[in-house]
Symmetry: C2
Subunit: 416 residues, 2 copies
């Protein structure tokens, strides 16, 4: 039998009625002839409740015990889903991480997969079971302790099972009906994509389109697992949602697939930094130690200052707006000891807008079209960074919506 992996997130199994709804989607795939592996999250709110218990018990908690407590939410959903499927006449069995076993590293709270042996679940399929319901987000360490995978762990579990079992596809059921060219709340003409390449999805995921966690997309790309994102709350069939796949599966790709944005960005500029080898490390080392997530970095050309033989430059970087104070503190503490600058300018009113598309690789002039479109709207660009398939700009936050709409129009994203 071909294998299909289906994953249901917390809102998709939030109560017994929604578990029943999800079970009907599983039934449809069994009827289509699949042996199905279902990955479930905890009922929404449950994990937060358990985390609250742990944090209320112990401030510097032992990650092993944290994992043992927090993983129990998924176990409940797995059992209930198996029961609901049985009630529909479908032979189903629940699987906790240790029963599969889902072998992981011992990095509690952020464990990584070591192996997922197929034997136990395949034996049940051979007995006539049609569905294996697996508790997501968890595994078991070599020491026999329960581990959890960290944020987005259930998506990652689903992709890992699809890779281990050679599944035909991995369907991620969630509360949106697919991946859009941009956020429909900002651009009403935003269009659902039928297909998107792994690389594009990765850029969109890390840029703030919260449909899939970066790590699960990375894993899918590495093992070429075809991912489908679709809605738990609508009638769906085999063409619903968005397929995240290898770019070879995408016949005719547009130059730009989507416009992403990130609203709460800040920009910091160190003015008149001495330009000598090691200066970047002197700046970004302390920031990394302070846990600041620096994103875009721009270094101006060097210049001389009158009456001084040294070379000077300005260094600009972007970061989440809520990390500005931490960054300022780290830089001021480094003043004098290896780092000197004349001034630190902070702008907390910026946003990042990006266009993403694998078509850029073979098309020239995309950046120029983007800059021209923004200029036509009098939107000033503060920082630019580019990658093979992405161009990002930092702009004043008040122009963010306008920039997204303009770029969506410029690259014809409302049309197929």
């Amino acid at each position: 039998m071909p294998i299909l992996v289906m994953k249901f997130g917390g809102t998709s199994v939030a109560n017994l009625a929604r578990i029943e709804n999800a079970a009907r989607k599983v039934q449809a795939e069994v009827d289509r002839g699949y042996d199905v592996i279902v990955i479930v999250s905890a009922m929404s709110g449950e994990t937060n409740k358990l985390v609250g218990f742990v944090e209320g018990t112990s401030k510097l908690y032992d990650a092993r015990e944290y994992d043992a407590v927090v993983a129990s939410g998924e176990n409940v959903t797995a059992g209930l889903m198996a029961l609901r499927l049985q009630e529909m006449g479908i032979p189903a069995r629940s699987w906790q991480g240790w029963q599969v076993p889902i072998n992981t590293t011992s990095a509690h709270g952020a464990a990584r997969f070591v192996s997922i042996p197929r034997e136990n679940i395949e034996a049940k399929f051979a007995e006539g079971f049609k569905v294996a319901v697996v508790a997501g987000f968890q595994g078991v360490s070599a020491e026999g302790r329960i581990t959890t995978l960290g944020r987005g762990g259930s998506d990652t579990t689903a992709v890992a099972f699809a890779a281990a079992f050679g599944a035909e596809r991995c369907d991620i059921y969630t509360d949106v009906d697919g991946v859009y060219t941009t956020d429909p709340r900002i651009v009403s003409k935003a269009r659902k994509l039928e297909k998107i390449a792994f690389e594009e999805m990765l850029e969109l995921a890390s840029l703030g389109a919260k449909v899939l966690q970066t790590r699960s997309v990375e894993l899918a790309m590495r093992y070429k697992v075809r991912l489908r994102v679709l809605s738990s709350f609508e009638d769906t069939d085999e063409t619903s949602g968005t397929l995240v796949c290898d770019e070879e599966e995408i016949m005719e790709s547009k130059v730009v697939s989507g416009v992403a944005f990130s609203r709460d960005e800040a920009k910091m500029t160190l003015v008149r930094v001495e330009d000598r080898p090691g200066v970047a490390a002197a700046i970004f080392g302390p920031l990394a130690e302070a846990g600041v997530n620096v994103d875009m970095i721009v270094q101006n050309i060097s210049e001389k200052v009158a009456g001084d033989t040294k070379l000077y430059t300005d260094m600009t970087f972007s970061l989440p707006v809520n990390q500005v104070e931490r960054a300022r503190h780290a830089l001021e503490a480094s003043q004098g000891s290896g780092l000197s600058y004349a001034e630190l300018i902070t702008d907390t009113e910026t946003a990042k807008v990006s266009v993403v598309g694998i078509g850029m690789r073979s098309q020239v002039g995309v950046a120029a079209r983007m800059f021209a479109a923004l200029a036509a709207e009098n939107i000033n660009i503060k920082v630019i960074t580019t990658s093979e398939i992405k161009i990002s700009v930092l702009i004043d936050r008040k122009y963010m919506e306008l920039a997204v709409q303009t770029l969506h129009d410029t690259f014809d994203l409302d049309r197929v």
Copy 2:
């Protein structure tokens, strides 16, 4: 190190504050020099919530999945208790059934222990851990599925661990501070017993004193595990509560240790049943099939009826009052086919009162003193049954409190 087992029920771990309170009691025992095995129930209300989920999902639920869902409540408490102990500086580790492993039969929902290997927990004690926190009420089958033990399963887990580890004692922390000579709500002079013999506790447990489950007392008796019942909510020390132990540990035992009662009893009498071999089976077979819990049984002497050569008798039995209709239905359905009687008399206004004491074995005249005391209060006895250490009578329900008070006085139970 000597081993102590401590068990905390659902109300004793109902919230984080109570878990902390329980952890302090564990700390006191660690300070006394014990390696401690703590058995925990689910936070009160959690198991019912999970059972509600299962019953809301599937009417004829698969007991394997029921167990997988319901056992998760104890896992949460075990992790939280381990965290709380760590927070107090005590090296502690949580254990789920499969991690110990607690090997059980595959009788899901009512599994029985097969073995509890000591190796894994002993290895942790050898590493310097002082406490093993074990999720009660659960185990793992030979098939690798999670099992649960049924009602009172956490008490039974505690006793089984005490037996397997040769614990010095098994302390059952609960919401009462010990075992009383009778219910203090009925007899204000009821006295807490310092010690009680296993056999006596068994009779009291099955007669409705709800402190300990019958099965855990049976197991304790078989393996000579000294059980102590004491309060979670009071300051306790090594002399608190009631010790349930072998009768050899009880130096000077009174002839009667306690007065038990059961309020909602009914009495049924089959009048003029033909007295021939097999008649008892003809009556109690159908009742058993109908799920009626017959308790006391009395058969009158046979007599002849005028104009008939056969022998006849009256057969009386007691049963829970809420099973009367079921019993009547079963008996009426058997009328004619192997069973015949002239009349079925039902009395739903009765109660059972019992005196229990291992001292009865060596003392004569206990029954006579009991009957005389009841007669002095004009309480009519409807049925009597006796065992080696117990005498039970069925009386009108309206006299139940009076009977309990009278017997408590008669046997001087308020005095040590």
